[in-house]
Symmetry: C2
């Protein structure tokens, strides 16, 4: 197969776009898709400072690199979960990446916050994944608000987004279907949240990271061996194979025809939010936010 | 595995219900599911005469038999498409079935109506499937209205319905999502349309047909070798295997939380309907309905 742009030997075949590219033209394609994803959904303006949540994985590092190359004012945030082995490795990967590319990096250590994930896991009588996600979202949001960033960007790709959309759709969950998308506007103490990689598949992001020589951490979380939404991702992968382009169609069509219908009918969840009495973060779960309640549970566990 | 009801050897394993049944208890289960499907969605009352569209396949014949056993006032309608080999075989199967069980049967011959499907296929410059579907729906509806039936019942099962729902959802097609379901109320010249097998999978219906010794026609249509929605059915089959019960959840949750949202927002397609100038059937496609236009095209083709 020849590169559709320059005619040299293609290195990346893209069935969903019925085409193939050489390495250089693929990276140009990747950049255009990011730019198109940002512009079409009005995610971010060039002059706005953006905080990029980086985990050390290929998606978030590719996002950080590409945004910086496109001239966005990026700054990275890594949350050290204090999980033995994997957190330390990811932290080193992120530090080397930002140093190599001359990018700002802020690190929040959950151990310093009394919320090391192994302690949280020990303190809770349930799987730690949802608590871990809650804690990360809390600190990402706090850092974006306190740092005066216009937006918080995450590396969610098309596979993440369509798997989540299918999950929400299987349950016809109006609260989620009314708000899922690459842009969540800032409101009620939440920073604007954006997903600039929403048009790009995991395969495409992996190719970009490989071609650009981005060293990334592949270690899966020891507490959650399977990737999230594995079954739904596999199913959507089969659909994409049978009908190339269908995943992006599904998501774009949702943004245009599905979400507005649910947004018009769903009650706004944010109506019930108020500031946490301890940390001031928006919460709908009582006087204290979920993270402050987790912190208390961890403290009690240690003292017990 | 033992039958969950009587403890004898189970012959049918139902993963979606996490159980198994012997042949007799499975048929009782099947009957309960049909009754529950009818009652929960208020499809039909016992005293109402119902016209059952029968094709000679296992679904429609199982439906016909089960409705008659539950005391509904059923009458069968078979449309002879005049497709060489397959239509004649299906017609004989249907005639033997109705004779064996003492059930009313009406037959409409498309050859007599100037609409034999091979002629229609020759007259059209496109695949015949959608025209064939349109013609069948036209005659089913006419027969239900003219015969004074309270409803027209079809043998669509859970696999048919969820594949169609997923197809509509992938496109976020509000017009279809606002009306899909086991019940379409009578309006604007259309008879009430009901799908009493909506809670039962193809596997379950096939088991019922096998256990009850229902002879059925397996010949696939020579013009449409692949079953409709094959890819989507396969995908939903994989989902069901990974998460038993998910298909019925998806459909029921749609009826409860999805369809009402789309119904509230979608413009009513029926607003634009008017009677066909030739046959009086409701149409939105001009002075003549689609079937009368097909009939003219066939006549012109024969005369050419």
């Amino acid at each position: 197969m020849k590169c559709k742009v320059c005619g040299q030997t293609a290195h990346v075949a893209l069935n969903s776009h019925n085409t193939g590219f050489c390495s250089k033209c693929f990276c140009d394609f990747f950049s255009r898709q990011v730019a198109r994803g940002i512009e079409s959904q009005k995610l971010l303006a060039k002059q706005e400072p953006v905080l990029v949540a980086i985990s050390g994985g290929k998606d978030s590092l590719s996002l950080m690199l590409e945004l910086s190359r496109q001239g966005y004012r990026v700054s990275g945030l890594f949350i050290d979960l204090a999980i033995p082995d994997s957190s330390g490795i990811a932290r080193q990967v992120v530090e080397r990446f930002c140093k190599k590319h001359g990018l700002d990096l802020q690190i929040i250590s959950l151990a310093d916050e009394g919320l090391a994930i192994p302690l949280v896991k020990a303190a809770l009588n349930r799987p730690v994944c949802s608590a871990c996600g809650k804690i990360k979202r809390h600190y990402f949001n706090r850092a974006a608000i306190d740092g005066g960033f216009a937006a918080l960007a995450t590396g969610h790709n098309l596979d993440d987004e369509t798997a989540r959309l299918l999950s929400n759709t299987m349950r016809w969950d109006g609260a989620y279907l009314s708000s899922q998308g690459p842009l969540l506007e800032a409101e009620n103490g939440f920073a604007r949240r954006i997903k600039p990689l929403w048009r790009l598949s995991e395969f495409e992001t992996a190719n970009y990271a490989f071609i650009e020589g981005i060293e990334h951490s592949c270690a899966s979380c020891p507490y959650s061996p399977g990737a999230s939404f594995t079954t739904l991702k596999n199913i959507l992968g089969r659909l994409e194979k049978a009908m190339p382009g269908r995943k992006l169609d599904f998501y774009q069509s949702f943004l245009k025809h599905g979400r507005p219908v649910f947004a018009a009918s769903a009650p706004k969840a944010e109506d019930a939010l108020k500031p946490c009495e301890n940390c001031g973060s928006p919460t709908s779960s009582g006087d204290l936010c979920g993270v402050c309640r987790i912190r208390i549970a961890v403290r009690e566990r240690i003292q017990a």
